[in-house]
Symmetry: C2
Subunit: 301 residues, 2 copies
């Protein structure tokens, strides 16, 4: 799994910072998560092929999380894209995009499919044979979801020497990978565990932006491989967290610790701070494996 940060500042784009957007590469998918103004240029800068993006997940309808989407949708058309694009977003975004298309008298060259979110409970919103995506209801000033991306249990790995020795027909390899015992060419039942190895444990990534400190999410993100949790403020501005419904670096780290996650990425920094290292230092007092998200940075998860 690879996470590329396109932007991770809050509020307004500036010459050296971009609003929230990131790309998660998981099981051959390129999932675009949030899409602030300038995202399409950041995708180009990071050499991410537009055609590989087939699913976009929008957390909420504050501008710094979606103002770049209409431009991206439009650019895909100008490039005569034909592949479907699925957008998972709070109800309302479809109306915004469709209104702008109507006014431009320009429709997409490809099927554009909206999945409008309204539930306040966690929902399974995407699933295929390798991946699941669930919403993580957050507590912000408007309706907001985080997203939990989970690999499904990986297939068992064939120990090819043992398989050959056990005289198993190739037709049964698929079943072996799925964990079943099979009958070999001599009619003997072979115990799966003797010819396969445990797969890599499935990985998971939770994206949580924007939210006030919200312990309710802990059970859902328990033991994820990596967590992105917003840290708009430092502890010294914690008085701003409640009224704006944002979190401090320390609060993000507390959630990470309680959920026993593998690593924490901090982001959604207020543009008032020049030295982002303060976020890392503050978070690490609570949760050691805290890292700073940064535009253009790719994390291997």
């Amino acid at each position: 799994m690879k996470l590329t940060i396109l932007g991770c500042h809050s509020a307004t784009p500036r010459t050296d910072t971009n609003p929230t957007s990131q790309v998660l590469e998981i099981k051959n998918h390129m999932f675009l998560i949030d899409c602030g103004e300038g995202t399409q240029v950041e995708l180009r800068r990071n050499r991410i092929k537009f055609s590989r993006i087939k699913h976009v997940f929008i957390s909420h309808l504050h501008g710094d999380h979606y103002f770049g989407l209409v431009g991206l949708v439009n650019t895909f058309s100008l490039l005569t894209r034909e592949t479907e694009l699925h957008i998972y977003a709070p109800k309302g975004l479809k109306e915004v995009i469709m209104l702008q298309m109507k006014l431009a008298n320009a429709w997409t060259s490809y099927p554009l499919i909206f999945h409008e979110l309204t539930s306040k409970e966690p929902e399974l919103i995407y699933e295929d044979d390798k991946v699941e995506v669930h919403t993580i209801p957050l507590d912000h000033r408007i309706y907001t979801n985080g997203f939990l991306f989970k690999e499904k249990e990986n297939e068992r790995k064939l120990d090819i020497n043992s398989v050959t020795e056990a005289n198993i027909n190739v037709a049964y390899f698929r079943k072996l990978k799925q964990g079943a015992d099979v009958v070999n060419e001599d009619g003997v039942l072979i115990d799966n565990k003797t010819v396969t190895k445990d797969p890599q444990p499935p990985k998971s990534y939770a994206f949580c932006s924007d939210t006030v400190y919200h312990e309710d999410i802990v059970p859902q993100i328990k033991n994820v491989t990596a967590l992105y949790h917003e840290s708009t403020f430092l502890e010294r501005h914690e008085a701003l967290c409640k009224p704006t419904k944002h979190s401090s670096a320390k609060q993000a780290a507390s959630i990470a610790k309680m959920a026993n996650v593998g690593m924490l990425f901090l982001g959604h920094y207020s543009t008032r701070y020049d030295d982002l290292n303060e976020f890392k230092i503050e978070a690490q007092t609570v949760f050691e494996n805290s890292k700073l998200a940064k535009g253009g940075k790719t994390f291997t998860i």
Copy 2:
């Protein structure tokens, strides 16, 4: 008069090009003309103070001319602006912006005033004691206006030596600047021309993007000091002009020549061209004083 180009490419923003936006400094106004995605960052990059922008003129509702506006409107609020912002744009834009504000549950901190345009005839849309702005109806795929910015006749300049010698009371200086003859301290009528000098002739700037070759605009832009005319294509792609309702560099130059303008700025280049000099060379075969618009460039008019 000073014109700063923030972006002058068509269609999609890229790492090295921005869609249409420019700032015209005229008689202490900073008029923002079109506002493609990324405009607020380009304003910062060009060190143009947000607070000086009080009027925005949007030519038409194709994304490369206005997708940056909602972000700018939003950023002004985040910066707790209090000054009025006037937006002159085709009907529809107000609905787009208001819908997005409603969804964000966030209203502007300042009066936001929309002037919705629907007329297909030239209209006077802004006027004060120094400046007029008129629409220039263009012929594009959707309802589109160019804009004509005109200084009013400047005041006459006092020849301070002659004024003193003529023994004129300071109370009459204002009348003198307005061209009136006045009575001096000795009761003698003084001929205005003997104590004042001709003012600088008023300047004018016409912004014409996007449009197919459209001679109807020539009478309206006759003798303007400077004309920005779109040149999306080179002559060798002129077959694309009619169906897309755009112009070639040569066509832009023909309009400039017919209208006897002082200088021509080319822009709205298709991103298919790497060497923009071809536009200049082509235009100059018809109209010598043709210049290339370029992101970050400021022209003194």
